[in-house]
């Protein structure tokens, strides 16, 4: 390797293409510096600085949406920049921003230090953004692990409660197991694709493009198939797809509510971007669709069925939303299955994710305000009479849940519609039937929640030794604004998709 080759390789490190991630990274460091530099009474400003920074990055990203690097590979093929990547970047930034807003409310009830939380959220967000653009297994693994390890910490952040720590431990073990599976899959693929005896082998088999070329030339390789299955199961853990969903209820319940939201939305979305990159129409595993499609189909069906049935019996809303999130993962998997035969599918997934983000954060926002100091203890009963106590929160909750349920004027419905259309285009009819049934079932528990908030009144349980339920925190100005905006966006995006819809359907 000569010096010139090195310089060439180094020249491909186009740092300017990563300005949002770099901004987040620097911002994260700046938070720590501020903590040291600022006097203690000014510390409450730091979260605002973080949120403002993320907002600024988001605005900057949207203004520079069509940056020069779009469509290019940078960092020697580690990253691939695309419009979809830009959209997901915006998605993660939005998710981070909302998480921070929720954290302001939730952390205020906890004696834990604040600034580290924001720092970790920033770094995790940057990792997610890189993950969405990764085009190489090394990049994938490193970004995924950064994200996962950050989340381990965030999940167990409320260390004064046992639930949070237990959730953290469970997430850790499951997450590490999935990382192990994923890693071994990657290793197998890399090894097989590098084997000189096979056609189209490559020295840089970790690159998606090279791998896709290899797989296309070796359609029935056992080791490659095994690798693919392992990689898929690793990702299935992250997105909480059946049969790797067992961690979801416990972890969602135990984690701090903002983190649950972050997990439910951003982490899941990150998993799906990876899945799309691998199993999508031009993904690395495209040549093995005869293997991936049945696997993903079965997974999607089981996920929808399990998620919905399990959610039916839940009384803790965090578990409920976790399990309903499992069923959402199933719907999204349906979209992934469809990508092979439907040009709409990828766009549908992105739209679904956005709708899911808006709705989930609306619901989690309400949950954050309704919850007491024990973050894991959020029963359905606590919502009884919410409409009378705080109509605003109740309305936001209803809109959010309605959107999650996929009730029409709301964005969630459009997401489901797109998914269904693309699934039908791809011919996954039985899956569609299951999904439709799943939607009906999901109505039951979502509506049960709305029912609790609107139709019921709180009566303390007969044995009055149980403590009274927590009183909802009235939302502050910022939080109210954010929640209102989320609810409004959920409604508006249902009516009018605008340029976003154009982009989805014409990509």
């Amino acid at each position: 390797m000569t010096l010139e080759a090195l310089k060439l390789a180094a020249a491909d490190n186009t740092w300017s293409a990563l300005y949002p991630e770099l901004t987040l990274g620097c911002l994260a460091l700046a938070l720590l510096v501020l903590e040291v530099v600022l006097p203690k009474r000014l510390h409450p400003v730091i979260p605002d600085v973080a949120a403002a920074g993320v907002l600024g990055t988001l605005v900057g990203l949207l203004f520079n949406f069509h940056s020069v690097t779009l469509g290019a590979d940078t960092f020697n093929g580690l990253l691939h920049h695309s419009a979809a990547g830009q959209v997901m970047r915006a998605f993660f930034l939005l998710g981070a921003l909302l998480t921070m807003l929720l954290a302001r409310v939730s952390l205020a009830r906890q004696p834990m230090p604040r600034i580290e939380f924001y720092h970790i959220v920033l770094v995790v967000t940057a990792a997610m953004m890189l993950l969405a653009q990764s085009n190489h297994f090394v990049m994938l693994f490193v970004a995924l692990e950064t994200l996962t390890i950050g989340l381990y910490i965030l999940v167990s952040y409320y260390r004064t409660t046992t639930a949070s720590l237990e959730a953290g431990l469970k997430y850790l073990i499951m997450g590490a197991l999935s990382s192990g599976l994923l890693l071994f899959g990657i290793v197998l693929l890399y090894g097989v694709a590098g084997s000189p005896a096979l056609p189209a082998h490559s020295a840089e088999a970790m690159n998606y493009g090279e791998l896709a070329r290899f797989l296309a030339a070796n359609p029935h390789n056992f080791l490659a198939s095994l690798g693919i299955v392992l990689v898929l199961s690793g990702i299935a853990f992250k997105i909480g797809a059946f049969p790797f969903q067992i961690w979801i209820p416990d972890v969602y319940q135990g984690a701090p509510t903002p983190v649950t939201a972050f997990l439910a939305v951003a982490s899941k979305a990150a998993g799906f971007t990876v899945l799309l990159g691998l199993c999508g129409a031009n993904g690395a595993f495209a040549a093995y669709s005869s293997l991936t499609t049945p696997v993903l189909t079965a997974m999607a069906a089981a996920t929808i069925i399990f998620g919905n049935l399990a959610a039916l019996t839940q009384h803790n809303v965090k578990r409920l939303i976790g399990l309903s999130g499992v069923s959402h993962a199933g719907f999204l998997l349906l979209g992934v299955v469809a990508t092979a035969h439907s040009s709409l599918a990828a766009g549908a997934i992105y739209f679904y994710l956005f709708a899911y983000l808006l709705a989930s954060f609306a619901v989690f926002g309400v949950m954050t305000h309704v919850a007491g100091s024990d973050d894991a203890d959020q029963e359905l009963d606590h919502y009884a009479g919410l409409a009378k106590e705080n109509p605003f929160l109740a309305t936001v909750l209803a809109v959010g849940l309605g959107s999650l349920a996929g009730i029409p004027p709301l964005a969630g419905f459009m997401g489901k519609l797109f998914i269904f259309v693309s699934a039908f285009q791809a011919g996954a009819r039985w899956l569609l039937v299951i999904a439709a049934a799943g939607v009906v079932v999901s109505i039951y528990y979502y509506f049960g929640w709305i029912k609790a908030a609107f139709f019921e009144t709180w009566t303390p349980p007969a044995g009055s030794d149980t403590p009274a339920r927590p009183t909802p925190t009235p939302p502050g100005m910022m939080a109210a604004l954010a929640l209102g905006a989320l609810a409004f966006a959920s409604i508006a995006l249902g009516f009018y998709q605008g340029p976003f819809g154009q982009w989805l359907t014409l990509r």
């Binding site: 297994f137 090394v138 693994f141 490193v142 692990e145 390890i149 381990y152 910490i153 167990s156 260390r159 046992t162 639930a163 720590l165 237990e166 959730a167 953290g168 431990l169 469970k170 850790l172 073990i173 590490a176 197991l177 990382s179 192990g180 890693l183 071994f184 290793v187 197998l188 890399y190 090894g191 590098g194 084997s195 000189p196 082998h201 020295a203 840089e204 088999a205 970790m206 209820p249 416990d250 319940q253 135990g254 019996t313 839940q314 009384h315 803790n316 578990r319 894991a376």
Partner: protein
């Protein structure tokens, strides 16, 4: 004596990986489970190095760096969680970690 072929290395790493996985599935002590997880990662690195050596490629070797670093970070965080939990619950047996139940 088994000749050190690629298959032998691969089988070895699969065996180690499987042992790790088995440990994760059957052990109840979280610390040991965690060790088994590390064993899985190490098994992966073994396969990676073997592939790199036999295929004459470099990426795999470099990947091992990343895996090692990630494993270190993971262990640090994981042990911190375990210790914090132990302080609360005085147990680290998986069966007894049942605060979260419906």
């Amino acid at each position: 004596m088994i000749a050190p072929t690629l298959n032998a290395y691969l089988a070895l790493s699969v065996l180690l990986f499987a042992l790790g996985l088995l440990g994760v599935l059957i052990r109840r002590n979280t610390l040991v489970v965690f060790m088994c997880l590390e064993l899985m990662l190490v098994a992966s690195t073994l396969a990676l190095v073997a592939f790199s050596r036999f295929n004459g490629t470099m990426d795999g070797n470099v990947f091992v760096f990343f895996i090692l670093t990630v494993a270190a970070a993971e262990v640090a965080v994981g042990l911190a969680i375990i210790v914090a939990l132990f302080r609360k619950r005085q147990t680290i047996q998986i069966d007894q970690l049942n605060t979260l139940k419906n």
